[in-house]
């Protein structure tokens, strides 16, 4: 399942891409699984077609999805590719730094952030184990 919040500060395209990325990472979606068409997902979420199309394109650029004419969009890989390990590491660090900045700006102290991070880690790996990922 994919959930988005219309009143969130995070753009919808990013929420959709993150949701799919999370499903792939936790094994909810496996390599070769067919994703909904752009029209189907846009209709279900009640968002613009372009919003979903942009999210799919971003994931295709990461190598996670592939679109084959006549066969739709499928999960291409459960990893973003090992060739650019350094680049991946840098990207993850950037995102973590961004999340930490958000936490600091939201006046969360270090203990609260650590607690939140541990909770999310537990939830994430519990989901991944459940899906065999």
């Amino acid at each position: 399942m994919l959930t988005v919040k219309l009143d969130s500060d995070v753009p919808l395209t990013l929420q959709i891409a993150e949701g799919i990325r999370r499903q792939i990472a936790t094994g909810g979606l496996k390599t070769g699984d067919e994703l909904p068409t752009v029209r189907q997902l846009a209709a279900d979420l009640g968002v613009n077609l372009n919003t979903v199309a942009r999210a799919y394109r971003a994931l295709e650029a990461d190598g996670l999805l592939t679109t084959v004419r006549g066969r739709g969009t499928q999960v291409a890989s459960a990893t973003v590719g090992k060739a650019s390990l350094a680049a991946n590491r840098e990207r993850i660090e950037d995102r973590l730094r961004g999340a930490l900045s958000d936490a600091k700006l939201a006046e969360l102290d270090q203990t609260a952030v650590e607690k939140l991070f541990r909770k999310l880690m537990r939830e994430f790996w519990r989901g991944a184990t459940k899906n065999g990922g």
Partner: protein, 288 residues
């Protein structure tokens, strides 16, 4: 009979024009649902203004040009209709696929295309029927031109070809319409309720089969069948009246069947929307 004809000719359009506004006014907000009453009142006011303007236009046209093409009124209905479609789910979320008052939306990441109940074999049947009837009508043309070069028969054959040519066109349109049933909005609850999923699947398949039997089989076979009879019946048999009556009955039956199917599908959808609204309310409570 004349009275009935007058009612049908002049009464139909005012009823069509008034329907959206009356419908919107009669719809009630379910108990416990918070809605933006100011926005609804504003939209309802504009729906009534557009409706009264359309009625005024209809009456003016009737006075100045009684025989004006009535389908022109579709353009005048459009504003009230569009505004009603916008206002209805605001007033009662069960009348729209998405509750405008809920900002969290959930969707399944499963592609619904492989769940299509109308398989290739069913489409083959529809194509064989439509093309078979087209060939049956067309083959008469060869005789009409070479063996029976009667002008009336040729005119009849042109009409027959016109009717049967609709068959393949209708089957192609039905393929598109049936495929679209997989892309109807099916928002879900965060807990992924199984019963909701089954309700969606059942309605989705109901719509696909209704579209198939109505637009891929009944309409093409019915109208092309008439075309074949027209092509092959001798002009001397004077079947024009009977064929016209038969075509009228078939058209009416298809129209009524379509209306019944649309109403049933619409009501089932409202029930699903209500289920979803209740599940989403549970989700919100659980989150609190």
């Amino acid at each position: 009979m004349a009275l009935l004809e007058n009612i049908m000719t002049y009464g139909f359009w005012p009823i069509m024009i008034l329907s959206p506004a009356v419908w919107l006014t009669c719809v009630r907000t379910p108990a416990g649902v918070e809605v933006d009453r100011d926005q609804i009142a504003r939209l309802t006011r504009w729906v009534w203004i557009s409706t009264l303007l359309a009625i005024a236009l209809y009456v003016t046209l009737l006075i100045l040009w009684a025989g004006f093409p009535k389908p022109m009124m579709l353009g005048a209905i459009a504003p009230a209709f569009t505004l009603t479609l916008r206002a209805l789910p605001l007033k009662n979320p069960d009348w729209g696929p998405h509750d405008p008052n809920v900002n969290t939306r959930t969707a399944s990441l499963v592609n619904r295309r492989p769940t299509m109940p109308v398989t290739r074999a069913w489409w083959l049947l529809a194509w064989v029927a439509a093309l078979g009837l087209l060939i049956a009508a067309a083959s008469r043309g060869l005789f009409a031109f070479e063996v029976l070069p009667d002008r009336n028969e040729r005119v009849m054959w042109y009409w027959a070809m016109f009717m049967t040519a609709f068959g393949p066109f209708m089957v192609a349109s039905a393929m598109w319409a049936v495929a679209k049933t997989r892309e109807e909005p099916e928002p879900r609850d965060a807990a992924n309720d199984q019963r909701l999923e089954e309700s969606y699947a059942s309605l989705r398949n109901f719509r696909a089969w209704c579209f198939y039997w109505l637009f891929a089989i009944t309409m093409p076979v019915g109208f092309s069948g008439f075309g074949v009879v027209m092509a092959w019946a001798p002009v001397s048999a004077n079947l024009g009246g009977a064929l016209g009556m038969g075509g009228g009955i078939l058209g009416s039956v298809i129209g009524i069947a379509g209306a019944v199917f649309g109403t049933v599908a619409g009501l089932r959808r409202v029930r699903i929307n209500r289920e979803l609204r209740e599940l989403q309310a549970n989700d919100r409570q659980a989150a609190v």
